[in-house]
């Protein structure tokens, strides 16, 4: 995983509540057995006017001109501004993979669905929760000024707006540490290998039926 470094990025506003993972990456693209290449199908149903198929050359497809990511002013956006309950629905990790592959490093919203929240951090995407009124205000500001960028500083847990306003956010220490160091979860957990083995022994002695295979 890449280390998460401070950056200034263009903000794209997606003004819609309850954006579910089916909308982020429609199911026909889940069939890949890889982890990369999902970016071109991010928000496929909103982004294109036709129905997308896996393995298709997306550069030939008709774009929906009204969709925010198709508008030139949001080109190269790295921060997605969204509404409440972002990422609800299925557990597909393809959702953060698609966001990351497209180039998003951060999503800001008033709330996120649980599984999506976990999956995003595990894939190096920072999710920032701001109160509804702050998000409202950001929507207004993004709308008002072309090329609107936010300076995202995870180390100090703050976002700085173009006018210099500092918005602080909360993030769990462990997740922050992993993001900043680019640490992979498995390696971290395996540092506790002995504790896991010891637990397993005890657990098996107490409840041997949990370790039974089929007859």
């Amino acid at each position: 995983m890449k280390k998460f470094e401070r950056f200034e990025g263009v903000v794209a506003p997606l003004d819609r509540a309850n954006v579910d993972t089916d909308l982020i990456i429609p199911k026909q693209f889940l069939k890949s057995i890889k982890r990369t290449g999902f970016g071109v199908n991010l928000f496929d149903e909103l982004r294109y006017l036709d129905e997308g198929q896996p393995g298709q050359d997306c550069s030939q497809r008709p774009l929906n001109p009204d969709f925010v990511l198709n508008q030139p002013r949001f080109k190269g956006a790295e921060v997605l501004l969204a509404r409440r309950n972002f990422g609800c629905g299925s557990s597909r990790e393809h959702a953060p993979w698609a966001l990351e592959d497209f180039g998003f490093k951060v999503v800001i919203a008033p709330s996120f669905a649980d599984i999506f929240y976990n999956n995003s951090f595990k894939n190096g995407i920072l999710l920032i929760t701001f109160p509804e009124d702050v998000v409202d205000r950001l929507f207004t500001e993004v709308d008002a000024s072309e090329g609107y960028q936010l300076d995202v500083d995870l180390e100090n847990q703050r976002v700085i707006t173009p006018s210099g306003e500092i918005l602080e956010f909360d993030v769990d220490e462990f997740r922050k540490h992993c993001l900043l160091e680019g640490l992979d979860d498995i390696g971290l957990t395996l540092k506790d290998e002995d504790a896991i083995r010891a637990f397993e022994q005890k657990h098996k002695a107490a409840r041997p039926w949990l370790f039974r295979q089929s007859a």
Binding site: D22, I115, R212
Partner: protein, 483 residues
């Protein structure tokens, strides 16, 4: 000190290490694998040169994109026309073979939807932690197991370490008290719960379903309820262990053998919330007030009783709600205040991990028996949840009832629940579906899904529009829930 909830007990029994930052390592007893969310996890293991921690904790079966027509299935993997689906199923086979993981392959009679197969095999036991790379894993909570839906990175993490990195959730209890009316099923109960608390109502909570109406449900019914916990925002749904649970498990292939059975049962009896346990939130519903439910929108919380009508978006107080209702009606092609019974249907889908078990098929068959699917219905299909459910149904003659009524009788798989195989809706088509999600495009691009119980789906197939299953002439339908 107050007592522990069922969730607290399960958590404590599996806690390997609590970290200072609030996260914890919890030990996982069972991982269920399927073809869609496992390939990248195996790929990750291989790339990092890691080995699975404990092979016998894993059980695999392809389900999401296996074809369900008899003809295609006869050919095994080579009957899968879609090349990407084929690669996924083939990759699961290869990975299981390479690592030595037990798999029920495409034409094994034990193959089926993971959430049907696990319990049916006794591979899900009370007191277990169960994970699967699928958000409907909460289904297994019906057995008093702590079951999480997880993402692909977590699948890899569990495979490599036998642990899940988790944060303890808060406790919510949803009580359904009283007696369910005739013709009102577990599906109606859970839809009514979601209608009441909303799709984010359970976010951050483990929900324990309790109360006399829940206790009176069969294991199939309990699985239906827990299955949809995620649709209320909760990763975990739970029901306490009782005689119904224990009776269901006896003699299942993975269940404890004779000498361990007594000890296991004694242990399982403790898997209930203590009388003095504290819940962070309690919600109560009255069973008598629940009628057969039909979803009208594009989120499971957009649901109402069969005697109700499509809401008027402008009547909503919250502006965000107004907007989402307006958009939902537009997508669904419905009018404000339209009666639910006036919604006409194009397709009927009876299946999915929510409602494809034997009891579900029995309920639907009772309604279908001696009737015909309306001419206006383009396709009505019944997809059993597993090969064993299919066999059982055929032994009871349910397949004949369905076929005579004009339903297609299919091979087990997820099928039109998520339309990853060839079974899908066309744009604008309305479907009465026993699945769990009615999101835009879920059952096919532009498709319009209405979530209902199996009996309601069968009744809609016959009428061509929604009808109150309770109002049907005196066939056995109204006693469906007692089966």
């Amino acid at each position: 000190m107050s007592g522990q909830t069922l969730y607290d007990k399960l958590w404590n029994q599996h806690l390997v290490k609590q970290r200072d930052d609030g996260t914890a390592l919890i030990y996982i007893d069972r991982q269920l694998l399927h073809e869609v969310t496992s390939p990248q996890a195996f790929e990750g293991l291989r790339l990092a040169n890691r080995k699975p921690w404990r092979l016998d904790a894993n059980l695999a079966t392809p389900d999401h994109n296996v074809p369900t027509t008899v003809k295609e299935r006869a050919e095994g993997n080579s009957g899968i026309k879609d090349s990407v689906s084929l690669i996924q199923v083939q990759t699961l086979d290869d990975n299981c073979l390479e690592y030595g993981i037990e798999e029920f392959k495409i034409n094994d009679p034990r193959q089926g939807i993971v959430h049907v197969v696990g319990p049916e095999q006794g591979a899900t036991l009370p007191g277990m932690t169960v994970v699967c790379g699928d958000s409907h894993t909460a289904t297994h909570g019906a057995f008093g197991a702590l079951a999480h839906g997880i993402g692909t990175s977590e699948v890899e993490h569990v495979m490599a370490t036998q642990c899940l990195l988790a944060q303890k959730m808060k406790n919510m209890q949803v009580r359904v008290e009283g007696e369910l009316g005739l013709g009102v099923t577990a599906k109606d109960v859970v839809l009514a719960i979601i209608g009441k608390i909303g799709t984010a109502g359970g976010t951050g909570y483990a929900i324990e379903f309790a109360g006399s109406a829940i206790a009176s449900l069969s294991m199939e019914g309990r699985m239906t309820v827990c299955n949809m916990a995620i649709e209320a925002g909760a990763r975990v749904g739970l029901i306490a262990v009782d005689d119904t649970t224990i009776d269901y498990l006896g003699k299942r292939p993975f269940a404890p053998t004779a000498e361990q059975w007594e000890a296991a049962v004694a242990d399982w009896r403790n898997l209930v919330s203590d009388d003095d346990a504290q819940f962070d939130k309690v919600v109560t519903l009255q069973a008598e007030e629940i009628e057969p439910q039909v979803s009208w929108g594009t989120s499971p919380e957009m649901v109402t009783g069969i005697s109700g009508q499509v809401p008027d978006p402008l009547a909503a107080l919250d502006e965000t709600v107004q907007r989402s209702h307006t958009r939902a009606l537009e997508y669904m092609g419905l009018q404000a205040n339209q009666k639910i019974t006036d919604i006409k249907l194009d397709k009927i889908f009876i299946g999915s991990c929510t409602n494809s078990r034997i009891e579900d098929l029995r309920e639907a068959a009772k309604v279908a028996k001696g009737n015909k699917v309306a001419d206006s219905i383009k396709l009505a299909m019944v997809v059993p949840g597993s090969g064993l459910v299919k066999r059982q149904a055929e032994a009871e003659g349910l397949d004949k009832i369905f076929i005579e009524a004009g339903f297609e009788w299919r091979e087990p798989g997820c099928s039109m629940c998520l339309a990853m195989n060839a079974d899908k809706l066309g744009a604008g088509e309305h479907c009465a579906s026993t699945s769990n999600r009615n999101f835009e495009g879920r059952q096919g691009y532009g498709g319009r899904t209405h979530l209902v119980s199996p009996a309601m789906a069968a009744a809609a197939a016959i009428a061509g529009h929604f009808v109150d299953v309770r109002s049907l002439p005196a066939n056995d339908a109204t006693h469906a829930q007692e089966a």
